[in-house]
């Protein structure tokens, strides 16, 4: 098996720059004896949007959870630059919205983020504006449309001013218009200086907003390749097969 | 939390207040409505707040022995004398009497109506294996009933067949008897006040054996320092006084007198 143990050196980032981004080394995570992450290594650029692609079951969501600190791996470590540590936000594929109004969700997140009371209104207005949620701020969060709910979940994760925002398939259940609004929001967040890691199956979306793609297959990272090179000339056989649609699992 | 508990305690008058007298009583005196008639008169005359806990005589005696009452009004003479002899009560006095009657389905399947005495009547019920509802609760009425069965039939052996122990008060037992068409022994006062008679009627009465004597006993403060002996003694004295005895005699239901005062 020629590809076993093969490490993909992130290209074209110069090593010095790569060292200041997010690095995942030798992560191993088991569930009931199965290694779902099997020595995952990758290094991502410190800026912009990086996409995490791969077939179902490749370990993308688990990897996000490890990076976010929700899972403790059996082996390996996640290294991030000092400014990111403790400032990681995660938006789940199916966001859990509190049983409150949209505004109530954001206010509570700001409270949990220890934002001083006198600053909360300003921050709230800022988040509402960013998510374009002003007009529906008083709606019960659980009555929002899929796109509105996803934007709320994303801006809610910004309450703690994360330096690294992990977003798991935010547009999987959205119509094209809803997806477009979410893409615009993620683009703006990245431009404002927050590193975004996005799990996506949508090559169109990846080509529109991501600067690089990390490709996962069976719990390992097969390559990290900048856009648009990844889509036109993937380096690993697995990524080629995936893009041709011949890998399902 | 502390304040709330404190409020709770303050809001609920404690038993040991000077003017509160707690009576552990048999149920017949309550079910028949006697207390509703005489307590207001006594409270007015004595300036007391008289509270009645009506349970079976057996439970009343036990509760009083645990010092959870200032006095007793019950009807089980031997047990009352033993209670005083054990040092739990100061003195037992006769208060009033009425009588027990045997009620049963008006058709009288065991044919007890013409029996010469209570023993013969019960013997006929046992012989016919006609359903008989027993209190089965160690109350005064239950004790009386057992003493009547003594030498007539082995009811312990028949329990669960025609002899059915309800383990409940007089009213509940009458409800059961009415429901299953059973015979039962009841004090006349409870019977007269009882409204759900259904098909039941008095079938046997008048045997001197069915005499039902009520007694009154203040709980001994030497045994229970917490009791309100002054209040209990005052109410006891009133009950056996001319005024109290008259009030008992005056209580009637449907024109019938329920209790006959007989204090010395």
């Amino acid at each position: 098996m020629p590809e076993r143990g093969r490490r993909i050196i992130p290209f074209p980032l110069p090593p010095a720059l790569a060292a200041t981004g997010l690095q995942v080394e030798g992560i191993r995570l088991e569930r009931e004896g199965n290694a779902l992450l099997d020595g995952t290594d990758l290094a991502l650029s410190p800026h912009g949007i990086s996409a995490l692609m791969g077939p179902n079951g490749a370990g993308k969501t688990l990897l996000l959870r490890v990076i976010a600190g929700l899972e403790t791996p059996e082996a390996g470590e996640v290294r991030m630059p000092a400014h990111m540590r403790g400032r990681v936000g995660l938006v789940f594929q199916r966001p859990v919205l509190l049983r409150r109004s949209l505004r109530g969700n954001l206010t509570h997140a700001l409270r949990l983020a220890r934002v001083p009371r006198q600053d909360r209104n300003d921050r709230l207005a800022e988040l509402l504006e960013l998510g374009q949620l002003d007009r529906i701020a008083d709606r019960p969060a659980r009555r929002l449309s899929g796109g509105e709910a996803q934007r709320l979940a994303i801006v809610r994760a910004l309450a703690r001013r994360p330096a690294l925002l992990l977003v798991d398939e935010p547009t999987a259940h959205l119509d094209p218009r809803g997806a477009q609004a979410v893409e615009a929001l993620l683009g703006r967040i990245a431009r404002d200086g927050t590193k975004v890691v996005l799990v996506s199956h949508d090559t169109g979306q990846v080509s529109r907003i991501a600067a690089e793609v990390a490709f996962l297959h069976r719990g390992r990272c097969r390559e990290v390749t900048p856009m648009p090179a990844f889509l036109s000339a993937p380096q690993s056989a697995e990524a080629r097969a995936y893009l041709e649609g011949s890998i399902l699992l | 939390m502390k304040r709330l508990l404190l409020a709770l305690f303050l809001a609920t008058p404690a038993m040991a207040q000077d003017n509160v007298v707690l009576v552990q009583s048999t149920t017949s005196t309550q079910n028949s409505g006697l207390y509703d008639a005489i307590l207001p008169i006594a409270e007015e005359a004595l300036g007391l707040d008289i509270r009645v806990v009506a349970v079976g005589t057996g439970q009343a005696l036990q509760n009083a022995e645990r010092c959870d009452g200032d006095m007793l009004i019950v009807h089980a003479r031997d047990a009352e004398i033993a209670f005083v002899a054990a040092g739990f009560g100061t003195e037992r006095q006769d208060l009033m009497y009425n009588d027990f009657v045997i009620v049963g389905p008006a058709t009288d399947p065991a044919g007890i109506a013409d029996a010469p005495d209570a023993a013969t009547a019960l013997g006929a019920i046992a012989a016919a294996a006609a359903p008989f509802a027993s209190r089965g609760d160690d109350s005064g009425t239950h004790r009386k009933e057992l003493s009547l069965w003594d030498g007539v039939a082995d009811v312990a052996a028949a329990s669960g067949t025609w002899y059915r122990e309800t383990g409940s008060g007089m009213g509940a037992t009458l409800n059961v008897a009415a429901g299953m068409g059973a015979y039962t022994l009841t004090d006349r006062a409870t019977w007269l006040a009882f409204e759900n008679r259904g098909d039941l009627a008095i079938l046997f009465q008048g045997d001197p054996e069915l005499f039902n004597q009520y007694g009154v006993i203040p709980v001994d403060p030497e045994h229970c320092p917490n009791v309100n002996i002054n209040g209990a003694q005052a109410f006891t004295d009133w009950l056996v006084s001319e005024a109290g005895q008259q009030a008992i005699a005056d209580y009637t239901l449907g024109g019938e007198q329920l209790f006959f005062p007989n204090a010395n």
């Binding site: 949990l112 220890r114 | 038993m15 509270r51």
Partner: protein, 235 residues
Amino acid sequence: MPEIGDSILTALGLIVSGDPDLIEIVLLSLRVSLTAVALAAMIGVPLGAALAVLRFPGRGALVLLVNALMGLPPVVVGLFVYLCLSATGPFGVFGLLYTPGAMIIAQTILVAPIIAALSRATLAEMAAEYDDTLRMLGASPTETIATLLWDARFALVTALLAGLGRALAEVGAVMLVGGNIDHVTRVMTTAIALETSRGALPMALGLGMVLLLLTLILNAAVIGLRARFEGPAHA
């Protein structure tokens, strides 16, 4: 069954006439049971929340115990409280036996496990849903519990109502520790028991209907409040 018709008439008569004895009994029932539910909520809700959210040794056994206590017969609770409050019992010196205070204590013990068990079930389900999200939002364990309590508030009110229903309906405990003393500890259920033992079945059932009406009004009031605060547009 002519009794049913009679009892409806009796119930109507009692309500229309505003019988002062009935009002006294109803008010005492409400005072005892509402106080007991309030106290039981102070114990049961935090206990349920702790069992739902925190992980500590003995937690499983405690959950089992609380669920088992939920099925306690009222008369057993009554007997236990009676023995504790009896003049010769450990808490006899407070003189609480045969007072509304004793009834409140007994019903609190009866209702607290119900509220705890129902709160735990509600909050555990919600905690499973909220846990990761709240961790990512930076909530401490205390803040997690507070968030769950607030978001589950309407489900918790339902738990309190279940407790109130049990408190208002039980007779075994209040009869033993209250003594069913006229004008002092007589509540709806003990009055019903007394009327039944007098064979006054229409009156007993009439009182039962008043109790049912009372429970209906309380439930409707809570549902009304819920609709008002929650708003119509809530999934």
